[in-house]
Symmetry: D2
Subunit: 385 residues, 4 copies
């Protein structure tokens, strides 16, 4: 089966997605094959360069025109977050399958509208929570599902970065609420929330706190994402998103959760980590060492109990046989390849892929519940949202 | 200078304190010398055995008689927590210097009464927050005080144990509120709170959550602390303390805090760990590797930035020259030796040791603020307490 | 510039090379572009499947026919080791640039013949020591070259695997001297030797020891490389290569070297690791955590000396800007992409790439010097070879 | 049972031994009790200060007079290495039990003479290889003895320090052959050799290499061991011991060994580490994290194979119940306490303690075999010695 893709967006995520489409047929030859048909962006020259570089057959500057085409099966949305909703609604109406990067939308209301449109249209839809697709995270899922960790008591997770630690780092779009929707909370915390949902289950209630440590920053000369430069002496603008957001939660199954997302953790370029403690064992994961999972079992012999460092590259581990011999590691980009494997396979098998828009909605509900808990300084039940 | 000690209590902490008194003159020969005069406990035979084993000159079963003696300079209280207050008040009235194990008391009210009594009596008083006295923690203190970490943004800490994970573990006194006062919160969380106070500063407000995962346990045949055995089939009693308590906090200086104490973290025998992120660097500490501190500086050259694993056994580190050559580690018990070095040195120098009863009170205020925040499901300001 | 490639071999290395050719234009768009023209192997059907899967325009079963074509610029040799020489000589004679997997040849004599043929032909030639191209290894090179580690005293390296630990693992071709040339020594040790040459310099003399722990193994039903299955009860054959080889060496610059290669290190799927100690600092590398380098400097402040864990994903690190933001890791396959970047760039710039056949020869000289030292139980000078 | 000790030596090792004697009755109350009777050294004032500080009843400046006393059961020799033999011979003749620090003697011949004298006298004798007595090393012993690691294939060990890395560090006695006997080889390598003997078995043959990187050093103004200061401009003297010694070996049971001892490994204050690979599993130990042992078993389930980090502080581990609850660590000095527990217990039980002088002799034989292999540039069989 071959699936023709039209992708809207061509920066960081566009590059990661393109690489995934290119790699899929080679490493997972039995899966449905994505054809890199059209890449779309507002700047015609830039998007054509991306087409040439990433290997897309055509480029396009009008996403509506792209969606109107008959020869496109999949719309992949990785444009800036504030454009997700409009594109997704149109794509659903046109009957295209949709892959949408996280955050699904800037608000829960919008996300729900997108989900409903997708369900009404009967298309396949997926939200881009790529970290689920690390082999080590798949191993966690398997250990929990099979009961090998027992009843889960604790989930603690933190996503720590430091790229805006310098107060002279400029006011890029990711620091502006009207474009980004949220700061560390929606950018980083969203991934932790999805992992919590996937691995432990639904949340019952939350309470959070957040802070913007640096309240004004130099206006950016150029808006180029993570590597922008500003002038310390020039004009400044207000940072309108959170630098850090923490929250506590109770899961419906009784587990306790602790979440922290920050861009002010010096020394952490991108530490996306969690630990889960159950009645029969524990696991620890850190995406900076994504090939590894630390695993503990209470059933080990008394004199040799301890966390094992499992390298998830053996044939017994998810995706491993598609790659390299045991002990030969993979990296960040591979999570996207596995993610699109799920997407194309689900289309092929005529089932909903996971995580779907429903998972994006669920994540958004928690994000907003945390926001409300911060604004109103109280515990907020997810069922309120 | 020689200081005659009367110690009340002879179990886990009595052993750790005795060892500290014995070691002090050998490793810190210039410090005031504690004389192990009298050890006191209710069971005459057991306490005499402890006297013989630990090296105390005399044993005693009546703590009032001990306090009444003229030849005692210091009263060391490490009896069960519910006895701290009465003994401390009497000892203060008798003009003895007092070392009291944490928790200082079962309530903030009691703790304040003890502090006032000590201040009225003009004695030296100390609360047993021993973890401050790890060389690596001293290094953190030095880095922060000297400004080498810059402004502090984050303090996150967790004290994880697993000794009651098995539901058939019996209902020992530490699981009964009327004796222990609190569960993981007062036992483990108290240490984290003191480290937060010591290293980062005072808290402004808190909000927490807690859980007792196993609500009933077998009655213990014998009450022998950590190693008790119960019968799974026998009668059960209610667990009246928390198995786990988590809370978020805001520090007065604007830093954000995250605290977690649990006895349900499989694989963690006693992980007492924290990380601090500042504007110029970060530190990470884990008491299971107490000789180490991980340190990051933003000022390192661009191509070699990373957390350093510092082994705090060099002459540049606190206490190190009293011990062994660089690279030769120390252990848990050494924190007590350093703690009593502070206590006897402060008496010799006629100054208050730190942490004093005031620190014990401050810790208790946070513990109770967290309890109130849990009971009332709202943020609680420390100034309320 | 576009370079048309004809690749001979399509198994493990063929897959890694194909992936590299595909990825190069996307991630390094300014480099000369390899065109995946022809893939060649003996089994017509299998090689056509590989062509389809990996993205080669044509397949071919006769490598001589491939070399005879006018429209091919590069011959990439990753067929079994015993075929390297004949193909390389023919390709050189035909004026093709040659990339040859390690080991360059089964003997030093053959390797020298290949080098001479390449030099005579005036072509560009490269030997596939891919580990050089890890960003963290590039950082080591930079630190040493710039003098930041000072004079080098020690190089110790070990490449540990465990895939043949089970005595019932069958007699695959890698365990047969006539095909593989060598066991752990040539397969794993060769990589360590090249890293030593690259990072520290030439060796003066060596002395080694080796062992074949399991001397007979079941004949393999199918010869499928690393994942073969044998029958414990069936006929057995003699293992004619080493299971483990260790050697000591003295470098020409006075440093001391220790090398160990084994396939009998339980728990090590593929630990390719080294440590270098210099007068001003040290580094440690382990390919299982290939994105990391541990670095120590004697010049650090006295109270914060320790090995730093540097994540080589910052813009200051080699290749990093082509990939993902800081903290987002890469994997095994990326070493090949960087390797072919060097190869195509060197061709474009009309200079010899490194490592060239000369490095392959140098490695082979050490491998054979070690073999001789084992056979004759004496120190062997590299200049003897 | 009470055993009166006369100890000769009062510096680094004298301090460690004194601490052990003091701690034994408290932590191991059922063991024979050492009485700290007499401490002996040449400098009367210094040794009296040591007596006061360490808790010895008397001091003495004439070791012959000490040995001549009737009221002494044990002679503990930790004077400089060149004095061991004479003292030991006299003590044996006087019928005293002898504990002698390593190296037992400056030569194999002397060591054998000491062993023979001890055996002739029928006394108990012990050599101070303290690292055997780490709980984690005891766990290794247990795992190997019980067959849980299977047949041993590899032992690799390194003892890395950096205290003389600076060329201006002065010519202390440890760098002078006539006093110290040897450099890194005898000081550090000796410990590795003893661990190899204890854990894996006897060696068959060895071949080594060594180097003195800094051949001349400033004469030390004061000879104060590890912390001496020299003047870079003043007179220099020749370093007559090795800075680093490496050797390969074959064990009698067929295992391969790799040993490295150096004082030129920047960043390593005292890394005493080894790894052992067997047919059923592997273990890794590093004395800088002495409470931990990494353990791997081939029998673990396929999807969770990996090295476990075992904290050897559970009741299932050696000595642990004498100390603190699980997760509470011990340090360097505890190895000596356990060592003297073995010594006094063996005397009480009327059996030879281990390691005895025979182990000291066996270690010395390997040290000298390595020296000979270096001098003669050939493999040397231990049976030659």
């Amino acid at each position: 089966m071959s699936l023709r893709v039209g992708m809207i967006g061509y920066k960081f995520m566009g590059k990661a997605h393109s690489n995934a489409y290119r790699a899929l047929p080679m490493f997972f030859p039995k899966a449905a094959k994505p054809e890199m048909a059209v890449i779309c962006g507002r700047d015609g020259q830039a998007v054509q360069e991306a087409a040439d570089r990433f290997g897309w057959a055509e480029s396009e500057t009008d996403w509506r025109a792209l969606i109107a085409r008959d020869d496109i099966d999949i719309i992949d949305i990785n444009a800036p977050s504030d454009a997700h909703k409009e594109i997704a609604l149109a794509a659903a109406q046109a009957g295209k399958h949709i892959f949408c990067e996280k955050p699904l939308a800037l608000s829960l209301k919008d996300a729900r509208e997108m989900l409903q449109a997708a369900e009404t249209a009967g298309i396949k839809h997926m939200t881009g929570f790529n970290y689920r697709f690390s082999p080590a995270v798949q191993l966690v899922k398997k250990l929990i599902t099979s009961g090998r960790l027992g009843q889960i008591y604790h989930f603690r997770a933190w996503f720590l970065q430091d790229w805006i630690l310098d107060p002279s780092f400029p006011l890029v779009w990711r620091l502006q609420k009207e474009i980004a929707g949220s700061g560390s909370h929606g950018d980083l915390g969203a991934h932790l929330i999805d992992l919590a949902h996937y691995l432990v289950g639904d949340l019952e209630e939350v309470i959070g706190m957040s802070e913007t440590f640096i309240k004004e920053r130099p206006l950016a000369a150029e808006m180029t994402g993570l590597s922008a430069k500003g002038s310390a002496d020039g004009p400044k603008g207000e940072v309108t998103v959170d630098d850090a957001t923490l929250f506590l939660s109770r899961f419906k199954n009784g587990a306790l959760g602790s979440f922290e997302a920050t861009r002010f953790a010096a020394g952490h370029r991108s530490t996306n980590a969690f630990e889960i403690n159950g009645s029969l064992g524990s696991v620890r994961f850190d995406f900076e060492r994504m090939n590894e999972l630390e695993v503990y079992f209470t059933s080990d012999a008394e004199d040799v109990q301890g966390f094992r460092r499992v390298l998830a590259t053996d044939p017994a581990h998810a995706y491993a046989e598609a790659w390299w011999p045991p002990g030969h590691t993979i990296g960040f980009e591979h999570t996207f390849i596995h993610e699109f494997l799920e997407f194309t396979t689900a289309i092929q098998e005529n089932r909903q892929p996971e995580p779907s828009f429903a998972d994006g909605v669920k994540c958004q509900a928690v994000l907003e519940a945390v926001d409300r808990s911060i604004a109103e300084r109280r515990w907020v039940s997810i069922s309120e949202m």
